[in-house]
């Protein structure tokens, strides 16, 4: 339990965000070489936990949802956390508790599951899945900040840019599987055409592939804000001077991929290093 999570995802409990979580899991499953059955179990159970947060944690209000994914030696652990009312209290159903078949589904598909109310509020669902044949990934050291993502407060809290999605991911192998999926999903939500989504995938590939040498710390941090046909992507924290190299990296001699495929790109100083800020727009007629 000492090791840091491979993925930390912070988003609001909007229903459409469950798809972002599922895409993260599909990416992790792909990276670990899980078979379709294992991947389906993982997706189904974690979706139940997330749907619970969507429907019951905040009594119809918007609130934060945190998902952490750990690649273990012989399994995958996923922790879904909210800051809403606990599972024990509340008014629905007799005897309190959250209704539905979510919990039995989670219990049936996991090696181990627990439903707890941490002292500082909310609910934490911990799930562990047996994946005996998973490919090992590089262990991840270092601590992960209180919330995921580069800069800003965590999405879904106090209504501050509630639509944003923040992500931290390590190591590079998982970043390469997860980043394109997350960015494609958000681009799809922002009504990008498939043509432009393909560009977004190329950018995500570059960022993930070049992250290892550029990031300040163990995890690649990313924060994405959406507007119609527009994505704003913040990458960081990066080592000083690395934003520029990420920006101009990539096609190695071609016009730099990131610069060519984005509509605005800027390196901004942050704390000890810097962040790379990208804007991707779909300008089709």
């Amino acid at each position: 339990m000492a090791s840091a999570p491979n993925v930390c995802l912070s988003l609001s409990n909007r229903p459409e965000n469950v798809l972002v979580v599922r895409q993260v899991l599909t990416g992790v499953a792909e990276c670990l070489g899980l078979n379709a059955l294992e991947s389906n179990d993982l997706n189904t159970a974690v979706s139940e936990a997330c749907n619970n947060v969507v429907m019951h944690a905040y009594d119809g209000e918007e609130g934060p949802m945190d998902v952490r994914v750990y690649a273990l030696a012989d399994g995958v652990r996923v922790v879904v956390r909210d800051r809403g009312r606990g599972i024990g209290g509340g008014e629905d159903g007799e005897g309190g508790g959250r209704p539905g078949i979510g919990m039995p589904v989670i219990e049936a598909l996991t090696r181990e599951a627990s439903f707890e109310e941490p002292a500082d509020g909310g609910t934490e669902v911990r799930m562990e899945f047996a994946t005996p044949d998973a490919r090992p990934v590089e262990p991840v050291g270092g601590a992960v900040p209180a919330h995921a993502g580069a800069g800003g407060s965590a999405p879904g809290r106090d209504g501050d840019d509630a639509g944003a999605v923040a992500l931290k991911v390590a190591p590079e192998a998982i970043a390469r599987a997860v980043l394109p999926r997350v960015l494609s999903t958000l681009a799809a939500r922002a009504h990008f055409s498939t043509d432009r989504i393909s560009d977004v995938q190329l950018v995500a590939d570059v960022l993930a592939a070049r992250s290892g040498e550029s990031i300040d710390g163990s995890h690649l941090g990313m924060r994405v804000s959406l507007a119609p046909r527009s994505l704003e992507v913040l990458i960081g924290p990066l080592h000083a001077g690395r934003g520029e190299s990420l920006m101009s990296a990539a096609a190695d001699g071609l016009a730099p991929v990131v610069e060519r495929l984005t509509d605005a790109v800027r390196v901004a100083p942050a704390d000890s290093g810097e962040t790379l800020e990208l804007q991707l727009v779909d300008r089709r007629p």
């Binding site: 919990m103 590939d205 190695d252």
Partner: protein, 262 residues
């Protein structure tokens, strides 16, 4: 951290009066073999079965087959449930029904290869993407594709990623152009065509690029030097946009690998 495992939520069918009715039905079926009682229970719990099949077998095809498998799980649970223990039926039935569906998927090879449904969907998404592009003169959005194909947006997003994965779909096969004419690659440019050499190269990159086939170099040039969209590139060289996307991703990946190796 107080554990609340003792406070599991009440599940479907355990409400006061329904619970009593169910208990009677279970007694009539399990003790007396009364088929009308079983039928009543099946009717009562079919929504649970449907809901589980939808959740676990999301977008598996054909859905009706899976529903039948899940129903079989319900029948088994009806036989084995012990009402005297006081647990709600649903919490007993869920693992039984899921177990039945998992076995079905395992038997259909899900544990060893990519489910056929997913491959077929990827292919259909590609075809629909081309059709809609041709009709509207621009690439469709994921929502448009999902609506057109009656798929979840998730299926479409998976398909866009999967283009990379399914070599078996013969994504390299020549595609007919909008005018219906099929253009094989060899007809549009030669393998040794030097006209498409890329500008802005330094020595090491030139060496690296030489490892890429002419077609890939051409696509890279069109996208990054001429700044054509992927749809425009697709139209010019007789590929689908998704093929262009895949070739671009692969080429850039190769360039990265080669650059690092050198």
């Amino acid at each position: 951290m107080p554990s609340v495992t003792a406070k599991r939520p009440s599940s479907a069918g355990s409400g006061s009066s329904t619970a009593k009715d169910s208990r009677q039905l279970f007694a009539r079926w399990q003790k007396h073999g009364d088929p009308t009682a079983r039928e009543a229970l099946v009717r009562q719990y079919m929504p649970l079965v449907r809901s589980l099949a939808r959740r676990y077998g999301r977008s598996s095809e054909p859905f009706e087959d899976l529903l039948q498998v899940a129903s079989l799980g319900l029948l088994k649970a009806l036989d084995r449930y012990d009402a005297e223990r006081g647990h709600p039926f649903a919490s007993f039935a869920v693992p039984t029904i899921l177990g039945e569906m998992r076995r079905y998927f395992r038997d259909s090879g899900w544990a060893v290869h990519v489910p056929r449904g997913a491959q077929e969907r990827a292919l259909k998404v590609r075809t629909a993407q081309e059709r809609l592009s041709n009709e509207h003169g621009r690439a469709p959005t994921v929502n448009q594709l999902a609506e057109y194909l009656e798929y979840d947006t998730e299926d479409v997003i998976d398909a866009l990623q999967a283009v990379e994965a399914y070599e078996t779909l013969s994504l390299d096969a020549p595609r007919p152009r909008a005018d219906g004419e099929v253009v094989p690659y060899g007809a549009t440019f030669g393998e040794n065509d030097a006209r498409y050499e890329l500008v802005e190269l330094d020595a090491t990159v030139t060496a690296v690029l030489k490892h890429l086939p002419a077609r890939e170099r051409l696509i890279l040039r069109m996208r990054f030097v001429e700044d054509l969209t992927q749809t425009e590139i697709a139209e010019r060289i007789g590929l689908s946009q998704m093929q262009v996307s895949r070739l671009l991703r692969r080429s850039l990946e190769q360039l990265r690998t080669l650059a690092h190796a050198g």
